[in-house]
């Protein structure tokens, strides 16, 4: 097990004490060790601000459409949300500036001692988009097989044939069970008439 395995005996009861008190949590968790001044958090603030700006921009475009039936109209809610998003973005940025850190999520298979593995992420996203492109022309069975085998490869599977076979098995099983059995929308694609 890695250094960052949670040690609940140490952390959780401490958290429990504070949770009953309802005041403040102890940030002694290994996860928070992304370090003080995690500057990437400003990116999240920027995202919130952009989202808020988009809402306001879009709300300005909407015409006045109030009636006695609906005195509020479609505009106030996006305007309120947009303003709240901008305010939240600022407060969030202030929090980050003061050294506030959100603890990254842990999990059974998550090892936070290393940075993000961008190569794996990029490959996964690529196979994901490939599936979106191929699903209609080639059909779910083929695109799904590629998606499964490709994702497994990206995640470190080196048994290529096995990955493809598992993928094909899953794709066929889901196609017959759901598309044919339960009338779920899955395209047959080029295999139309064969499956």
């Amino acid at each position: 097990m890695s250094d960052h395995t949670p040690d609940p005996t140490r952390d959780a009861p401490a958290g429990a004490v504070t949770s009953t008190g309802g005041t403040s949590a102890v940030m002694s968790d290994g996860v928070a060790a992304q370090g003080r001044g995690d500057r990437a958090q400003y990116g999240m603030c920027a995202f919130l601000a952009v989202l808020g700006g988009l809402l306001l921009f879009d709300a300005a475009r909407i015409g006045h459409a109030t009636s006695s039936n609906d005195p509020v109209g479609p505009r106030p809610v996006p305007i309120i949300l947009g303003i709240l998003l901008l305010v939240t973005a600022v407060l969030y940025a202030v929090d980050v500036y003061r050294g506030g850190v959100g603890s990254a999520e842990e999990g059974e298979d998550v090892d936070l001692s290393t940075g993000s593995d961008w190569k794996t992420l990029g490959l996964l996203a690529a196979f994901f988009v490939l599936n979106a492109v191929l699903i209609e022309p080639l059909g779910w069975v083929i695109s799904g097989t590629i998606l499964f085998a490709g994702s497994a490869f990206a995640l470190g599977n080196r048994h290529h044939v096995r990955g493809l076979l598992f993928g094909l098995g899953l794709a066929l099983a889901t196609f017959y069970a759901f598309a044919i059995g339960l009338d779920v929308n899955l395209p047959a694609g080029v295999l139309q008439g064969i499956l």
Binding site: P8, A12, S19, A25, Y92, A104, N157, L170
Partner: protein
Amino acid sequence: MDNFANLIDGFGHVLTPMNLLFALIGVTIGTAVGVLPGIGPAMTVALLLPVTYGLEPTQALIMFAGIFYGGMYGGSTTSILLNTPGESSSVVTAIEGNKMAKAGRAAQALATAAIGSFVAGTIGTLLLALVMPQVVKFAVSLGAPEYFAIMLLAFAGASAVLGSSRIRGFAALLIGLAIGLIGIDKVTGQQRMTFGTAQLADGIDVVVVAVGIFAVGEALWVAAHLRRKAAGVIPVGRPWMGRDDWGRSWKPWLRGTAFGFPFGALPAGGAEIPTFLSYMTERKLSKRPEEFGKGAIEGVAGPEAANNASAAGTLVPMLALGLPTNATAAIMLAALQGWGLEPGPLLMEKQPVLVWTLIASLFVGNTMLLLLNLPLAPAWAKLLQIPRPYLYAGILFFASMGAYAVNAQPFDLLLLLALGMVGFALRRFGLPVLPLIIGVILGPLAELQGRRSLQLSGGDLSGLVGGPVAWVCFAIIALVLIWPLVGKLTGRGRGRGRGGDGPGADAPATKEVMA
């Protein structure tokens, strides 16, 4: 005893071969996903949603409820054998449970968890059957302003009470509300936030949001940090308990149930707080406090009961008010909407068979879970050895299938990836997922109720604060929002970074939701 007759009636409906089959499928899948890392009940229900649109709503709900309860059982297995809780609600279980397992008492820990879950689940479901109709009776009289206030309370609760940081909770909530806004305004027909994209005019389907945030976001997050060495699993035999263990377990089970149910039923409850409370109580009351931290069975029995009882409690607001208090309930509500059923107090009046069959199925499912988990625990533990590349590739595979199946348009797959990236960012920066999903599902409803209230008052803002229920809700919201300021004035909560100004240890709060 009108309810009692209804319940018996529900049993009559559930005891058909098909319904029993769906209950069995549900609890089996539920236990499996509870055990499996990376997947939890909320994600599973989201993945299965599109598939179940072809089923009878009753059968699909029976299956979902089985998954919900089953996930609670399965979660304790991982906590005890791996020391890495799969769900936030089983974080506390890991404290003593894993210590017990290391001391060679894994069998007893699993047994007290499973039997305690059964006891708490049964009592909790009984309480559900008793309390829910009363809440419905009360809720039927509520008008639009009251509903609006209750929904605002749910927003405030989910973002400010459960998470580790208020500001991060609100950020997640606002992202969810913004996503919920996308599409045609139901009252005026105006397009909002669609930017001329035809596929966005109907809004983003809740399935795509849930699958994107839970399944794709989680898979991407794990993929970026995949643990290359598998964690050690403690081998286990068949769970059993001796006389002494029974004697030490039964009181914590009952006390845990008493903590869990009310917290689950609150709009801002959840399973974390009652499990912690139960743990603290057991440690205080124990005759052998020195065993705590070294594997005290009370520390497993109490919290496990609390978390199952809170699962039952969660169903009270979900069925009576249409108000989700955790992620799985939120997605089950989305399922109801997908079938064209309107969640809320009228559900029980219009669909009594559905509601009572569902409740009866919980008793049946709970019993199945005990039978499934006690003798088969070693087999479930084997699931932990599944190769991770296949597991996460499988999640992405099913996520794509489900998201495509909703509208049969590849555009949704690209949306799914984008939402997956949002989910990734939430996990990376420690933003809780629950407020987002509640925002997406309740946001449009809250807007509708708010506008309806103002319609009644002719646009006068006073229309939003009608009735004592609304007053109470606004008072609680004010309290929740002002609380950190109070903490500041009294000089506490300073100097620790505002990132941790909420209750509870951080990891659990953000985790429940992803499950």
